[in-house]
Symmetry: C2
Subunit: 93 residues, 2 copies
């Protein structure tokens, strides 16, 4: 049995990165460790957070922005981007 309309779980990804002008010691530590692994040619490493949220219903974009601003990121030192991955359409025969 195959339902005509699959239940779509709305999934939102919020990527939080330090602003470019803020020092990232964690990234610098990784960059310093790279030559020991034989990896050269890396000019920059920045480490941030990736937050994956799953919603029961499609979320309100305004609410998402508020959520990222108040809970997930510190807007003083961090930038964030909100991505809503497109559901993969299942239009097979």
């Amino acid at each position: 049995m195959h339902a005509c309309q699959e239940q779509f779980v709305p999934r939102v990804v919020v990527d939080v990165m330090l602003k470019p002008e803020i020092l990232d010691p964690q990234g610098q530590a990784v960059a310093a460790a790279l030559p020991r692994l034989g990896v050269t040619g890396v000019t920059s490493v920045r480490i941030g957070r990736r937050v994956e949220l799953e919603f029961a219903d499609p979320p309100d974009p305004e609410q998402l922005t508020e959520l990222a601003d108040q809970l997930l990121a510190n807007p003083v030192i961090e930038d964030y981007s909100i991505t809503v991955p497109e559901p993969v359409p299942e239009d097979g025969p």
Copy 2:
């Protein structure tokens, strides 16, 4: 002065997330805080790391996998995905 061929900085994003079967207390803490912000309907929150690497030269995919396996992720409890964002072509008139 505008060079014909812009210098392309190869940029690689490695997303590291805890495996689905591993408990994520940080995500649970965020999920528990959401109702206080008035956000309801969130069924799951998972928090991982986003690593942005910039290379002087296009990196070797095999080397990238080794790098993610040995330095950026702990393969016992974490999954990672390596994304090489496409450069935006500048084919304007």
